[in-house]
Amino acid sequence: MGLAARRVAGGEMTGGQEGRGGSPVRNPSSGSLSPRRFRSPSPPTLSETVKQTLHSATLDNGIVLLGEDLPGLESVAVAFHTPAGAVHDGPGRCGLATLSGEMMLRGAGNRTSRDIVEVLEGSGIQWAQSVSTSHSSFAGAMVARQLPIALPIYADILRRPRLPDDELENARQMVLQNLAGTEDDPAHRAMSALRQLHYPHPLGMPSEGISADVEAIGIDDVRSFVRAHVVPRGMIIAVAGRIDWDDFVTRVEALFGDWGTDDSSAVAIGSRGERIRFVPHDSQQTHIALAWSVPPYRHDESYEASAALSVLGGGSSSRLFSEVRERRGLCYSVSAGYHTLRDYASAICYSGTSAARAQETLDVMLAEIDRLPGTIEEAELDRVKSRAKSALVMQQESSAARAAWIARQWYHLGTVRSLAEELARYDRLNVASVEGWLAANRPAGLTIVSLGKEPLEVPREVSA
């Protein structure tokens, strides 16, 4: 899951279960034809009076509790975000956070690995565990009445993991199998290389690990990692859905309130990698991934940045989709999006196309990026705002999505913005503000990764 905020759709390189893949829908051709029987479109009138009840509390040991009532739902989703992210893996131990997260599920308190899974699943609880750059997270979604069953299990996993020596090899093999699988996924490899080069070390390191490092991890590494980083200070527990907030706080306080208060240590930030890399891979398609730096989510200007990126490659009427896929038929997937960590963020563009057309695809992508400043039209920006606002409102239909969202907001901002405020921020965006930001922050210093049979030619000036 991860805590990287993504406000504007289209940043994902792959498109979920939908058949046409990539970003939403697509298509170009002739200019505007006057519609015959169609009503003239009116701007979406968003009901900005969405009822919303947000809660927050902080325990004495620093754990932050966040909640949102979603009264239309039967379900509750809860997520525990510990500050044990991959950023703490350490030199020669890339994958330690992931292996530790896996080990925490292999027995906790009085429960064996099987007990944990059997009780969770036997109670109809959908559970998930994941590691991002900043957090190691454990989550569950369930019918509301099951929450009291779930909470003590998560308390055991977080506070009393057994970290048994005799499970280490199995857990390590599981992490290695997953890594071997990512080797066969060319788009994933291209994006992973891009993040590694673009972000200062170790912020772009792959949370899934590096095989040689994972091979070297010992049980003591795991135990000290968990002791040092799975700690209350910096931890966020978010709950959303059909909740009873007071009851939730009482239960969490009883389970976590007496947990000691060690701090997870800070990480020294190093330098970034080279600007341009070619990764040889035996595939029919060449995968192209580009990045440049933009303001992180907590900066007010991030709204201008992500809106500009959405105009570039966020929807089916975006510049990249229209030009690269629809008009030229160069590829199946092409998109641009906004990716943020707490202190760094980037614009990320992606496309995959057959080797013979990859150079043209890259050239057109670069031309569209270059053409963006000074050319944004009001209608384009209106569409971007409308998509973002509509997505925000629809998010209220999913307890898991909201639990993730309020936790992200807290991590990035130290507060949770109301939906009304978030919508108002989109309303305030206008062509002048987006163009003003773009003029002062023209895309420059691009990091460019290509993966395929042959390297591509990259003009020197774009990565200067």
Binding site: V25, S32, P44, E121, Q285, S316, S317, A391
Partner: protein
């Protein structure tokens, strides 16, 4: 939740599941056509046509369609499968009429030749993209062998060859025959204004010409699916070996299909199942899973494995042993109850999302003309007994049968290839 239905004089069904608390409205046109309805000359046309529908009508350009969806803040897309082609959009309720009108107009596309030629390039890229990804064609090959001469043997995307050869006339003819109103369901879920939905359908679809639709059902070729087969696709540079195995299971009109899904969860769900504890938890396999899939007139259990190449054969035998042990020794009540609760929990969570419900309600009506509420499904799941699951195991044994295809670095070994016997 309430269900509403109305049929237009030309045969178009308009249905809705209305949820008062929903914040969004999802709208979909479900066309009862897919890869199984194609001839050799049409191979891949259903999916290619799905792309072309976004290329515009005689009075609406492709750019205009894209801009309107984005303008509405719609989350719009489409998909094609063996049996269905669906076009859908999720919008805020105030956009229902606009979104329905736009989707409805798209159902009568212009199918211009220059658009067709450009989009052909995109389809070819999509085929190449999947060809570069796991399981490297093992799924399509397995389906072809398992279904033999049955129409479900055909892959959805088609081949580079079938797409390159296809002239636009083939698509125009296919569209005229298959997109007849009686072959389409307009379905909406969430915050739906049903009266407005029916009015939109009358306005935009009322003049669609009704055509007779030939029947789709074809008997499953039993011979092809009973003999166990093994085929290899060699991909020297792949890291893992990928295996897909298909064996028979209950069809979409069989009452045992729910028990079959529960059985598949017990044996091979992606967590907490017998295969999970035997192979994934121990790090021997990246993935070892089983699921049940049903079609109009056929059903199957699909097993997927990915692992180190040198372990793949042994793990396939282990999977067969897991299946054999389940059949011979039966399942225990505890794992049965755990998985029944898990399935029920999953259903409740999926059921409360109207954007997701569209993909249950629309296809169910398109396939069977029935509506099943979340409560109906939950009641069925909660009433399942251990005996039901044991009966499925006896009727459709998973061990010692089925078609298997391996794709990865394992070298071709002609002595082990048995597929030719079944063809």
């Amino acid at each position: 939740m309430k269900f509403l239905h109305e049929r237009l004089p030309n045969g178009l069904d308009v249905i809705a599941e209305v949820t008062d608390t929903a914040l969004s409205t999802s709208i979909g046109f479900f066309v009862k056509t897919g890869a199984r309805d194609e001839t050799d000359a049409e191979w891949g046309v259903s999916h290619f046509l799905e792309h072309m529908v976004f290329k515009g009508t005689n009075d609406l350009s492709a750019d205009e369609i894209n801009r309107r969806f984005d303008w509405m803040g719609a989350s719009a897309n489409a998909f094609t499968s063996e049996e269905d082609t669906a076009y859908h959009a999720a919008v805020l309720p105030e956009q229902q009429i606009e979104a329905t009108a736009l989707l409805a107009r798209m159902m009568r596309p212009a199918l211009r030749e220059d658009d067709f030629d450009t989009e052909k390039l995109v389809i070819l890229e999509e085929i190449r993209m999947y060809d570069d990804q796991p399981p490297f064609g093992a799924d399509d090959r397995c389906r072809a062998t398992f279904f033999g001469h049955h129409p479900l043997a055909r892959s959805v995307l088609g081949t580079v060859d079938s797409i390159e050869r296809m002239p636009v006339e083939v698509m125009r003819d296919y569209h005229r025959r298959r997109y007849s109103p009686a072959n389409i369901v307009l379905c909406a879920t969430g915050a739906v204004d049903f009266e407005a939905l029916v009015n939109s359908a009358r306005e935009w679809c009322g003049d669609w010409e009704p055509l007779a639709i030939p029947p789709r059902r074809a008997p499953l070729d039993l011979r092809a699916s009973h003999a166990p087969t093994l085929e290899l696709i060699t991909r020297p540079t792949s890291t893992l070996e990928y295996a897909v195995k298909m064996s028979r299971g209950p069809a979409g009109d069989d009452d045992d299909r729910f028990a079959a899904k529960l059985l598949a969860a017990i044996l091979g769900d992606t967590s907490g199942s017998r295969l999970y504890w035997a192979m994934v938890d121990t790090g021997r396999a990246e993935q070892a899973s089983c699921h049940h899939q049903d079609f109009l007139d056929a059903g199957m259990f699909a097993t997927q494995l990915s692992s180190d190449p040198e372990d793949a054969r042994e793990l396939l035998e282990m999977i067969d042993e897991v299946y054999r042990a389940a059949a011979e020794q039966g399942l225990d009540r505890r794992e049965f109850e755990q998985n029944r609760n898990k399935l029920a929990g999953r259903w409740v969570l999926l059921g409360e999302r109207p954007r997701r419900r569209l993909f249950d309600v629309g296809p169910e009506w398109a396939h069977s003309g029935d509506y099943r509420s979340v409560a109906d499904d939950l009641r069925t799941i909660e009433n399942l007994s251990l005996e039901d699951v044991h009966r499925v195991l006896a009727r459709w044994p998973l061990h010692g049968t089925g078609s298997t295809v391996l794709a990865g670095p394992l070298p071709l070994d002609p002595s082990l290839e048995t597929a030719s016997e079944a063809q």
